[in-house]
């Protein structure tokens, strides 16, 4: 059975002080710190790419885990802001950067904040279907490259990061169930217009608070579980206020759903694996992940410890 063996992340050292940024936009520091919940925002430098971030994440993975590079037979990258406009697909660039063998499947996935939950299921299923044993699933979506510097709603929120998840036949966690949803009619809530990200904060907020709890409850029902059967809820770290209220509406015990975006901001598809990396060694028995955003797209999955 295939599943998650290890996770590592890269958060750029280059940081924006979000409170100073708040001053520039005329926003209250307390509002930015306590409601948005973001004090610092990591940023890839101008000359740093998706491939760079992913390679750095891989270096961290290789430091703490025995990764046999010659055995990697699948590599997937999830991003909506790929290097070179996505041509070639960034997984091919990474294939070269990491020096992987030719007998290795590589492809990209273009999803935003639901990308980690989707991507895990895609790579696991693809590998399972094709008899592959060792895969790398990368997330890196530097929204900083498409932010409008005059738009405080997005500039105060998004941070850059990269992660890599090692998928193997020696998993610590395996997928028990998942649910996927899309509302294309609501796609204007988050889209790229004239090269810049635009966001209808209210539409995103309503979506997160109304639809995400429903999907989580539906997934729990599918598995005949209650919120108390879940040891750890890893929800996409959109903003503190949105998360607090989504957690409340889903009836999730607050102490089982970490909110940690103060030093990263909203890192899109990297937010869930950044949380997971820190908790894998604690070995929570049952984990529920939920990612939601651009699309509108939302996905939730339950992973259980593999004994």
């Amino acid at each position: 059975m295939l599943g998650i063996e290890a996770v590592a992340s890269f958060v750029p050292e280059n940081m924006i002080d979000n409170l100073e940024q708040a001053d520039r936009f005329g926003a209250e520091r307390e509002f930015v710190e306590k409601k948005i919940g973001v004090s610092r925002l990591p940023r890839l430098r101008e000359d740093e790419s998706v491939a760079y971030g992913c390679v750095e994440a891989f270096k961290t993975l290789a430091k703490t885990n025995a990764v046999d590079i010659d055995k990697i037979d699948c590599l997937v990258v999830c991003t909506q802001n790929p290097d070179s406009g996505g041509l070639p697909h960034n997984s091919a660039i990474l294939h070269a950067e990491l020096g992987l063998k030719e007998e290795c499947a590589c492809f990209d996935i273009g999803l935003g904040c639901s990308g980690y939950v989707y991507g895990l299921s895609i790579i696991e299923s693809f590998m399972q279907a094709n008899g592959l044993k060792n895969g790398l699933f990368f997330t890196c979506d530097p929204y900083s490259k498409i932010l409008n510097p005059e738009d405080k709603n997005t500039c105060l929120l998004f941070g850059d990061a990269a992660t890599v998840t090692l998928i193997s036949d020696r998993p610590k966690y395996v997928r028990a169930a998942a649910k996927f949803s899309t509302r294309g009619a609501g796609r204007e809530a988050l889209e790229k217009v004239d090269g810049h990200l635009t966001m209808n904060g209210r539409a995103v907020f309503n979506f997160a608070l109304m639809d995400v709890p429903k999907q989580i409850k539906s997934l729990l029902e599918l598995e005949a579980l209650s919120v108390t059967d879940i040891d750890l809820f890893l929800l996409h770290q959109g903003s503190r206020f949105m998360l607090e209220n989504t957690i409340k509406r889903a009836g999730i015990p607050a102490d089982r759903a970490p909110i940690e975006l103060s030093q990263t901001g909203n890192t899109v598809s990297s937010s869930i694996p950044i949380l997971l990396e820190k908790r894998l060694d604690d070995m929570p028995g049952v984990i529920l992940m939920s990612g939601f955003g651009v699309g509108l797209s939302w996905a939730s999955a339950i992973y259980t410890q593999n004994f």
Partner: protein
């Protein structure tokens, strides 16, 4: 819906969602910003009021409804 009922919904939602807020009659015509409801609170307040009153509030309308009394009036007129 009677005015008292609409006012009760609006006041309860505001007080439930904004820490330490207690709405008095003289605050009904003050702007939400002036009574300490920030832009994120407004999103939550509008969503809860929609759910509790059954009256949909569009984005444009939500921007116009900037005092408690305006929200009450909008519920009654809908």
């Amino acid at each position: 819906m009677h005015r008292e009922e609409a006012a009760k919904i609006v006041i309860e939602v505001l007080e439930d969602n904004v820490l330490d807020l207690e709405i008095t009659e003289d605050m009904m015509d003050q702007t939400l910003v002036d009574i300490g409801v920030d832009s994120l609170d407004v999103m939550l307040v509008m969503m809860d009021i929609q759910e509790k009153s059954g009256v949909p509030i569009s984005d444009d309308k939500a921007d116009e409804l900037n005092t408690p009394r305006k929200i009450v009036d909008f519920i009654l007129d809908s």
